[in-house]
């Protein structure tokens, strides 16, 4: 069997599959990108600044919070510190991907690192985790980084286009921000969480995460996010251990 096993995947099939997989998330990011562009105008960040921020920072929630801080006249170091704390979760994402990208060339690591976002991570890690067990070995591929790249490029281009649309709308309809378009991100994340809820440890993780996030909401610079996530992961591991223990008795 094994000697005749031909790779079913190629860089181009993986690239297209990655772009397809992230399509729902791209659609979910559209209102979010537009609202960023719309808000930028009223926060005092003008055309070139908003476009440069989307192109170079490429981090939705950090960009939003930066706008909020700009609008209330916060000092530069505060905005940069907040960016750091809000984006710290990307460190956890890259940690999760370490074992998968370590054999790639330096240029690949650079490119994939720059384009690492919530959505791209969710799609890429799902692909990397396919084909781990014997039953799903038909999903094995040596080109999964092309899948990651396809998802990342699609997400990036969409974000730039939506920023420009939002900037245009911001001039035309100044009160578009009150429509609640930010809910699009929430609903996208809900859709990303649901498939994980297949066993008890994951359900416990999610419940603890939600409760802890509410309790730590008032911690400075959104650092409650890291506290809540850590507590939730520990609760998940603990539940998993308890489950195994029960099975063994």
């Amino acid at each position: 069997m094994s000697h005749s096993q031909v790779e079913r995947y190629s860089p181009s099939t993986e690239f297209v599959a990655g772009a397809k997989a992230i399509l729902p998330l791209v659609i979910g990011a559209i209102p979010f990108g537009i609202i960023f562009g719309t808000l930028a105008h009223s926060s005092g960040l003008f055309l070139a600044g908003a476009i440069a921020m989307s192109a170079l920072v490429f981090a939705g929630s950090a960009q939003f919070i930066a706008l909020g801080l700009l609008a209330t006249g916060k000092a530069l170091p505060i905005i940069i510190l907040t960016t750091f704390v809000v984006n710290l979760r990307h460190l956890l994402y890259s940690l999760s991907l370490v074992t998968h990208v370590k054999r790639l060339s330096p240029i690949w690591k650079l490119v994939l690192g720059f384009w690492l976002t919530d959505e791209v991570f969710a799609v890429a890690i799902h692909r990397y985790n396919q084909g781990d067990c014997e039953a799903s070995r038909r999903h094995r591929s040596t080109y999964k980084h092309w899948y990651y790249l396809g998802a990342a490029i699609f997400m990036y281009i969409n974000w730039q286009i939506c920023t420009v649309i939002g900037l245009t709308l911001g001039y035309l309809i100044p009160d578009a921000t009150s429509w609640g378009l930010d809910f699009a991100m929430s609903v996208t994340f809900i859709g990303m969480v649901m498939p994980y809820l297949k066993n008890k440890p994951m359900v416990v993780t999610v419940i603890v995460s939600g409760i802890m996030a509410l309790l730590t909401q008032n911690l400075p610079h959104q650092s409650g996010l890291i506290v809540a996530t850590t507590a939730a992961i520990m609760a998940g591991i603990f539940t998993n251990k308890m489950n195994k223990h029960q099975d063994n008795v």
Binding site: I79, A232, I237
Partner: protein, 111 residues
């Protein structure tokens, strides 16, 4: 672009990149303990939930609003039901948004 904007965007870009990239850069030298790899399984749902729950339950950012007047909560419940039933991401997003917008619209009309 003003000088202030230039420094702001430059610094934000640098800080963000210096979070995302270094572990990739040194990934071939890093060996993760198996407990850590196990823990990272729980990371995606944990972090996404921690972002979403306050955004939905605290629509004004300061206090919890558990009421039918919270359109985000109603939309989120709809999204969870659709997501759970269909396991389809696009259907979840579209239904959640539709319910949210129509609920929000009804609230403004009937109040």
């Amino acid at each position: 672009m003003s000088k202030q904007e230039f420094y702001l965007i430059g610094a934000m870009a640098l800080v963000t990149f210096l979070i995302r990239y270094p572990l990739f850069a040194f990934s071939s030298q890093i060996r993760l303990p198996s407990q850590l790899i196990e823990a990272l399984k729980y990371l995606p749902p944990a972090i996404l939930t921690a972002i979403v729950v306050p955004a939905i339950l605290m629509p004004t950012g300061d206090k919890i609003l558990l009421s039918y007047t919270n359109a985000k909560l109603v939309g989120a419940i709809a999204a969870m039901l659709v997501g759970w039933q269909t396991q389809n991401l696009l259907a979840t997003i579209v239904c959640g948004m539709l319910v949210f917008f129509s609920w929000q619209w009804s609230l403004t009309v009937f109040n």
